[in-house]
Amino acid sequence: MLEKSKQIRNTFYEEANKANSIQELAELRDSYFGRKRGLLTLLMKQLRDVTPDNRAEIGKELNELKLELESALERMKGQLEVQVLNDRLASEQVDVTLPGNRRLLGHAHPLSQVGNEIEDIFYSMGYSIEDGPEIETPYYNFEALNIPEHHPARDAQDTFYVSDSLLLRTHTSPVQIRTMETRRPPLRIICPGRVFRHDNPDATHSPVFHQVEGLAVDEGITFADLKGTLEYFLKAFFSERTKVRFRPSYFAFTEPSAEVDISCFVCSGKGCRICKMSGWIEVLGAGMVNPAVFNYVHYDPERYTGFAFGIGIERFAMVKYSISNIQHFYESDLRFLEQF
């Protein structure tokens, strides 16, 4: 019987090596452990006929054989299952390089993006955001800003009128006057919005454009504060490395007034096409609020001082993204808009 057991073991392994599927493995199991005809089952049955002296020894051997073959079958089954799974997964392979299934994202207008960025910087510096009407009176658009009728400064900003007493605002400064009329200092606001000038559209002019104007009024506000504030803002908007230059200029609304330039970021000040070889790019106008303006809104010009600045959003966007024609902003060409 021991001989027989050894033989079974050998043939089992021989046959097992040939089993390549779960099905074949099941057949193999059946041919050894099958209830009626299983080779091992039959051998176990013969144990009854063995002499009692040998029964224990042979029984032990057969049991060991049974356990051994069963665990071998389990092991092989496990291996085969893994292989089957792997084969299935391999057959399910997709082409991961195909594009994702997404709905295309829209694009915020570059002027909105630049406007938001400017607003966020000033908001973080403690400025509140105000707005006002686009159709204004000459009083708010000119007179209260120290630009009387027939002032040559009115030439520079040719105006659209809708009636004798109403015009399209040429800057967002009227909002500053309206705000000062209703609130006392300390005041620090920015006024973003749409403004209009009677200019025929070309590469650098648009009859519609956008501004963010700012105003700070309090006791003790100085020109140094104006410089510090705009330097902080311009570095935050363009880059930490930006150099800022203040040049004397003239605006009726402010005195002293300044044009503010930044160092050219294309050539770092060496001179190039973008900065017209000067190394500097003019970006905004600013100054200390003219005491005459305080008189209009009944602020005491001896007690309060303030500064104001005006930022052209188109200008900032053009400088930031190197856009050379202002018309792009209003042409709604998606090939332009989708770049932002």
């Binding site: 195909l98 594009p99 709905r103 295309l104 829209g106 694009h107 915020a108 909105s112 908001y123 510096m125 403690g126 509140s128 955001i129 009407p133 686009e134 159709i135 027939h150 040559p152 520079a156 659209f160 009128y161 809708v162 300390p186 620090r188 749409r194 209009f196 009677h198 559209p201 009859p207 519609v208 003790g220 100085t222 020109f223 140094a224 504060d225 410089k227 510090g228 504030t229 330097e231 902080y232 230059r245 203040f246 040049r247 004397p248 200029s249 003239y250 005195e255 002293p256 044009e259 200390m288 005491p291 001082t305 902003f329 209003y330 042409e331 709604s332 060409d333 998606l334 808009l337 989708e338």
Partner: protein, 699 residues
């Protein structure tokens, strides 16, 4: 204004290069746009601010240079040889309108030889862009460019009665100016007249008849000071702008008239010969004296943020011709020259000092604040909408606020707000709707072959409201073409009404507006009394458009554009648009969020299919079901809709699902059956529907 480097150096020594000078002038506010070499010279193109007429001349710019490099100005050569015969014998002057003419000075030169100018003079003028005429006219222009004071030369023989009268024009008086145009004059316009008629438009342009010609022998040189406002008005209303009017309307120097006369007369004597008659006729009834101004040291510090050393202040003021009359501990008493009418207040002097001291020398500090900042709620609402739109695939456009009047009319019944002088008829009125701009935006892309797009604009529309101008903030949306790009992942289909409606529902949701409470009322919908339920807009497809309502408020309109409108724009595919007034959206108070217990018991979903008359809305079916007052209904939704051959033409088939759930127990089959039967009965009874399928559980 153009400035010649060589000419400038006649008045001040300059040790730096032309390029360096340009940079330095720009830094004190006299902006040099370009420096161009011209033969042995350099030309500076200045971009001057309107407050600095004093820099509209070489001597004026030389003064800035002198202050810049702390160098003295050189004297101007006005040595003059005069004949013994007094000028009074040749001409008399009377100022009738003293309000508009403060001073009128004149000289007479007899026996001149009018001829072409010498080469050097022609070149100097031409370099600055002035055409050479003859030696006399050229000299007046030369002095204008040199000293900045406008002069005019008359042929004295042509002055009737040898008398100059400065007066306002009479009604409908006429004058032919040297450009050959006949000008119709009005009262209020200042003229130079002789005893019978006007001979010049004061400060603007001379008359043709008294113009200097080659036969002229006696020259009357005029050097006056006219009221800037009057010159500006006349120049504007007659649409003539000249070198002279440009300076007078900005303010010339009333005390420079004689200097300019003398300079011109000495040049005439040199280049055209003749005898300069003795003396000047100087009509100057009220000599202009400016009050000295007190400049406080403390105010400089208060405005600029740091102190400037008193000697520096003194030096700058002196070089700029502001003489210090008195120096005190608190500050300075300063004389104001008539050449700088723009400086009249303390702050003006501070600016003068600051710009020559150097803006770069002041500190940079940040102000300290005592308060926090705020943004109005609309600000964040707008941001949420814009971000939502972006995620929904809409790109933002910005278009002009003015549009074509006829085009505007197609989208509104509002009276438009017209521009008085528009750039063109296509931009003649303020837009009453965002749609013209959005359609043009779409069209621009469509015409170059881009068939699918989602675009929006957020901005103001304008209308008249009870005589007042009303500005309304709007969101306009436009979408057309395919729902998705052609893709391996899905089959493409056309965008439809419900895509746009869905987008709007998502926007409502983003602002916290309860979508369930928002109603969409179809354009063709009628009330029970048979009246229209809303006021439909004629540019929409009547069957595929709706008004958006929340309670009594109108939240906008959406739908397919009327095919006629598409035709006008030559768009050959359906276009969906929405017009949303943002004020009511911002005003809807978002519902406060409150937690509801998550149901612990299972829900049961039942389907219901029916045939129903076509004119019965889905919303009517849903509200009828609600009338059964079954509180276990959690949700009702339609999932199938069909019309067609198998149905009578006035019927549609609709299938809905109803989800039942109780918060405190598991619902039994019997309960749900009872509810469902009740609903079926109610629908049959009130809406006359025909129930198709027996109710059945769906898991």
């Amino acid at each position: 204004m153009k400035i010649s480097w060589q000419w400038l150096k006649e008045f001040v020594d300059i040790d730096v290069s032309p390029q360096q000078l340009a940079a330095d002038l720009t830094n004190v506010g006299v902006v040099v746009e370009t420096v161009e070499p011209l033969e042995a010279d350099f030309l500076f193109e200045l971009d001057l601010t309107t407050n600095r007429p004093d820099c509209l001349s070489h001597v004026g710019v030389a003064r800035e240079v002198s202050a810049l490099y702390r160098k003295p100005l050189k004297p101007i050569d006005v040595r003059l040889e005069q004949s013994p015969s007094p000028v009074n014998a040749h001409v008399t002057v009377e100022i009738e309108s003293r309000r508009l003419c403060t001073r009128y000075s004149a000289r007479v030169i007899c026996g001149v030889q009018v001829a072409p100018s010498p080469e050097w003079l022609v070149r100097r003028l031409e370099a600055l862009g002035l055409r050479s005429i003859n030696n006399i006219a050229d000299i007046t222009n030369y002095v204008l460019m040199e000293l900045g004071h406008p002069l005019h030369a008359f042929d004295l023989v042509r002055i009737e009665g040898r008398k100059i009268i400065v007066r306002e024009a009479r009604h409908e008086e006429r004058l032919v100016t040297i450009d050959g145009l006949e000008r119709k004059l009005e009262r209020g316009m200042l003229v130079i007249a002789d005893q019978v008629r006007p001979v010049a438009l004061a400060g603007i342009m001379g008359g043709l008849e008294s113009e200097i010609g080659f036969s002229t022998r006696e020259v009357l040189l005029e050097s006056a000071w006219f009221d800037p406002l009057s010159i500006r008005r006349t120049s504007k209303s007659l649409a003539v702008h000249t070198e002279a009017s440009h300076r007078f309307e900005r303010g010339a120097d009333v005390n420079a008239t004689v200097l300019a006369l003398d300079r011109a007369a000495s040049l005439i004597r040199r280049l055209a010969g003749g005898q300069v008659q003795q003396g000047v006729v100087d009509c100057y009834p009220q000599v202009v004296r400016r009050e000295p101004l007190f400049l406080r040291k403390s105010r400089i510090t208060q405005v600029m943020g740091s102190e400037i050393q008193p000697p520096v202040v003194g030096e700058i003021l002196n070089l700029l011709n502001f003489k210090i009359v008195e120096g005190l501990a608190e500050g300075w008493r300063v004389d104001l020259p008539t050449s700088r009418l723009d400086v009249e207040r303390e702050i003006d002097l501070i600016e003068e000092i600051a710009r020559h001291y150097g803006y770069d020398k002041f500190l940079s500090t940040l102000p300290t604040w005592k308060e926090g900042s705020r943004r109005r709620p609309e600000y964040s609402q707008q941001k949420i909408l814009k971000e939502g739109l972006m995620h929904l695939g809409y790109s933002e456009t910005l278009t002009y606020s003015f549009v074509d009047e006829l085009e505007n009319q197609g989208f509104t019944d509002q009276q438009p707000i017209r521009l008085l002088s528009p750039l063109s008829t296509e931009t003649g009125v303020m837009r009453s709707s965002l749609l013209p701009g959005l359609l043009r935006s779409f069209l621009r892309n469509y015409n170059r072959g881009m068939r699918s797009a989602r675009i929006y604009e957020m901005g103001k529309t304008y209308r008249k409201n009870a005589g007042q101008v009303q500005e309304d903030e709007y969101l306009g949306m436009i979408t057309s073409g395919n729902y998705q790009e052609k893709s391996v992942h899905s089959v493409t289909r056309a965008i439809n009404f419900f895509d746009l409606k869905g987008d709007i529902e998502i926007l409502l949701q983003l602002l916290g507006i309860p979508v369930k409470q928002v109603r969409f009322v179809g354009s063709m919908h009628r009330t029970e009394k048979g009246e229209p339920s809303c006021s439909p807009l004629r540019h929409y497809h009547p069957g595929v458009s709706a008004e958006i309502r929340w309670g009594g408020q109108k939240l906008g309109f959406l739908g397919q554009l009327h095919p006629k409108v598409c035709e006008q724009y030559k768009i050959k595919q359906p276009v969906l648009v929405a017009e949303i007034p943002l004020r009511p959206w911002y005003n809807v108070r978002a519902t406060e969020k409150a937690f509801h217990e998550i149901p612990r018991f299972p829900s049961i979903q039942r389907d219901l299919s029916m045939f129903v008359n076509k004119d019965i809305d889905y919303s009517t079916i849903e509200s009828t079901i609600q009338q059964a007052h079954i509180e276990e209904i959690q949700k009702i939704f339609p999932f199938d809709l069909y019309m067609g051959e198998r149905l009578p033409s006035d019927k549609k088939g609709i299938s809905i699902s109803i989800v039942y759930q109780a918060l405190d127990r598991t619902l039994t089959e019997e309960e749900v059956n009872r509810h469902h039967e009740k609903i079926e009965a109610l629908l049959t009874e009130t809406l006359g529907v025909e129930i198709r399928t027996p109710s059945k559980d769906v898991m």
